[in-house]
């Protein structure tokens, strides 16, 4: 009934050792409890406020976290648990990353070899030409250095870097910051097209409005914790959303009236136990301070004890 799960992330936790005072250190959990799933041909957007640890999710899946990071939880690809070695063998062929901006390209390497990762064989050359043609970029592009690219070209090139490997999972990390609306929409449509061709896409963004236009499902993160996973269609009405933070997010969208309430995330060192949103939630009670499971609700998931489904279950 459902398409096969391509990527499953369960109860992911990523923490850092960092200096908190001039001479003392502590361990900070940037991602506390994150779960997300991507199926084949599906475009899932992971949406959350700034500083909710979204980019770390991408780095965690690809195994490129810095040395002082600790990672716990389970990441499965096509049903098998991914070890660091497994990540290393999968990245760059089964799983590809679309980076944020130009700084992710080697400034002294021409685009052709850069796209092919230095390979020189005829097959990779052919593939490069095909992909450039697909994004209506001409062959002269191969001779260019990154700094010579214009804004629109850059976006297409960054996406091309991922497609050269024909991956089955594409992770896009904030692919549209600072772009004007027209260009951002076009980038999003490229991702939709890739998903329609059968690959799974994990889109990491803070732009909910843009994500809603192309995504199949939205996974909402707050203070490093997954709080809701819902179909994009659930965002048509406030009532079909389950978590109070998601609802606040919905009300804040310009098209839904731009109404706002204080939802500032607690500082990472001071996130309360239980629901991270309890400080701003009208319905918060003592029970919210206990551990709250991420449970199935309709087509998606939610981490709240106040939703109707949850109430009905108890």
């Amino acid at each position: 009934m459902e398409k096969t799960p391509l990527l499953e992330v369960k109860n992911l936790r990523i923490a850092f050792d960092q200096y908190s005072g001039r001479f003392s250190k502590n361990n900070l959990g940037m991602i506390r409890d994150l779960s997300v799933m991507v199926r084949e041909g599906e475009l899932v957007a992971v949406v959350g406020p700034s500083g909710s640890g979204k980019s770390l999710l991408a780095h965690g899946i690809l195994g490129i976290l810095p040395d002082n990071a600790e990672i716990e939880g389970e990441i499965r690809f096509r049903g098998t648990t991914m070890t660091q070695r497994c990540k290393e063998s999968l990245r760059g062929n089964e799983i590809a990353l679309v980076p944020q901006n130009l700084s992710y390209l080697d400034p002294l390497l021409r685009m052709g070899p850069q796209l092919r990762k230095g390979k020189r064989d005829a097959k990779s050359r052919q593939k490069t030409r095909e992909i450039l043609a697909h994004y209506s970029l001409n062959e002269q592009m191969e001779r260019m250095y990154p700094f010579e690219l214009s804004g629109g070209m850059t976006r297409r090139i960054l996406i091309s870097t991922a497609l050269i490997d024909s991956p089955s999972l594409v992770i896009a990390d904030e692919p549209t910051p600072g772009l004007d609306e027209k260009l951002a929409r076009r980038v999003m449509s490229h991702f939709r097209a890739i998903a329609d061709d059968g690959a799974g896409i994990l889109l990491i963004t803070h732009d909910l409005e843009l994500a809603l236009e192309v995504a199949d499902r939205i996974s909402v993160i707050y203070a490093g914790t997954s709080i809701e996973d819902a179909a994009a269609t659930d965002f048509l009405h406030e009532e079909t959303l389950r978590h109070p933070y998601t609802r606040a997010l919905w009300r804040a969208m310009p098209r839904n009236g731009f109404r706002v309430e204080n939802t500032a995330q607690p500082c990472v060192a001071k996130i309360p136990a239980g629901c991270p949103f309890q400080q701003h939630c009208a319905a918060a009670s003592g029970a919210c301070r206990r551990e709250i499971p991420y449970r199935r609700a309709g087509e998606g998931f939610v981490r709240c004890i106040h939703t109707e489904e949850a109430v009905a279950a108890t």
Partner: protein
């Protein structure tokens, strides 16, 4: 610490070291810094105290290899090499203090002046290129020659030939600060010139300047020793490390290796200590890991 990272969130920057050593790294740096400063002070004082012993000649005790009563041996006039070396090193440390401080002061002045005015800036970069155009040692020889050699020549030479790189750092730092949004905003918010300098410029420059100053010491000391070794620096009657090593040359062939090895070793240790102190200071004031 920078936990609620800026958007676009990327890898949190500092610290990148391996976790094993991290717990104590900061404290370790502080302790090391204090130790280095302490031992250098000790050398400076000890050397001053042994100045008279260093000059004592005793021909019954000449050319002794290292032994218990003379750990560094004695020279052809029976002078105790440990005392001579300590006195020499103490002189080096104090000379280094004097010249490095003077040089750093020049650097601060030149660097900030260049950052404030375009004409001065052109002049400044020309001057740097000019001074760097002559090989360092040759410049020292020329200045020493101009001053008729001796103590004055060394001090002036070392002072005038070490300010360039720090001045460049200060210049670019001041330029960057001047361009920075927060300094410009402060001006629009009505802050006076003095207030901007005191509140925004100085606190940002001071750590850089101090680190630069401490890291000037080793260079100053080494160049003082070198120029003295060549015969342009301090007069031969002075127990300076350069003199000691220069004198040792003629006895090396006779196998009196201790005359060169120990004094040099002590000098290297002293210079290393300054380097350690500077690097510790740098890691303590490093903006990438400071203030959190």
């Amino acid at each position: 610490m920078n936990v609620q990272a800026k958007e676009p969130a990327r890898r949190p920057n500092p610290p990148r070291a391996t976790p094993r050593f991290q717990i104590n790294r900061r404290q370790f740096a502080l302790i090391l810094f204090l130790l280095a400063v302490l031992s250098l002070t000790a050398v400076a004082i000890a050397g001053d105290r042994c100045a008279s012993i260093a000059m004592e000649t005793d021909f019954t005790q000449k050319n002794l290899a290292p032994c218990l009563s003379h750990p560094f041996g004695t020279d052809w006039m029976g002078r105790d090499m440990l005392a001579r070396t300590l006195t020499g090193l103490s002189l080096s440390v104090r000379l280094g203090l004097l010249t490095a401080t003077a040089s750093a002061a020049i650097a601060a002045l030149m660097g900030s002046a260049a950052a404030m005015n375009k004409t001065l800036d052109a002049l400044f970069s020309w001057l740097i290129d000019l001074v760097m155009g002559v090989p360092h040692i040759l410049l020292l020889i020329l200045i020493s020659f101009a001053c008729g050699r001796g103590f004055r020549g060394v001090v002036i030479g070392v002072t005038l030939s070490h300010w360039m790189s720090l001045a460049r750092v200060i210049r670019s730092e001041v330029l960057q600060l001047k361009q920075s949004a927060y300094v410009q905003i402060a001006a629009k918010l009505g802050a006076s010139h003095l207030r901007i300098v005191l509140r925004h410029m100085v606190p940002n420059l001071l750590p850089q300047f101090l680190v630069g100053l401490v890291l000037l010491f080793p260079h100053a000391i080494l160049h003082e020793a070198s120029i003295t070794f060549l015969g342009f620096g301090l007069p031969p009657e002075q127990p300076a490390v350069g003199i000691i090593l220069s004198e040792s040359m003629q006895y090396l062939v006779m196998g009196r290796w201790w005359l060169a090895v120990f004094p040099g070793l002590l000098l290297v240790t002293g210079v290393l200590l300054f380097g350690v102190a500077g690097n510790c200071l740098r890691s303590l004031t490093n903006p990438a890991s400071a203030n959190e």
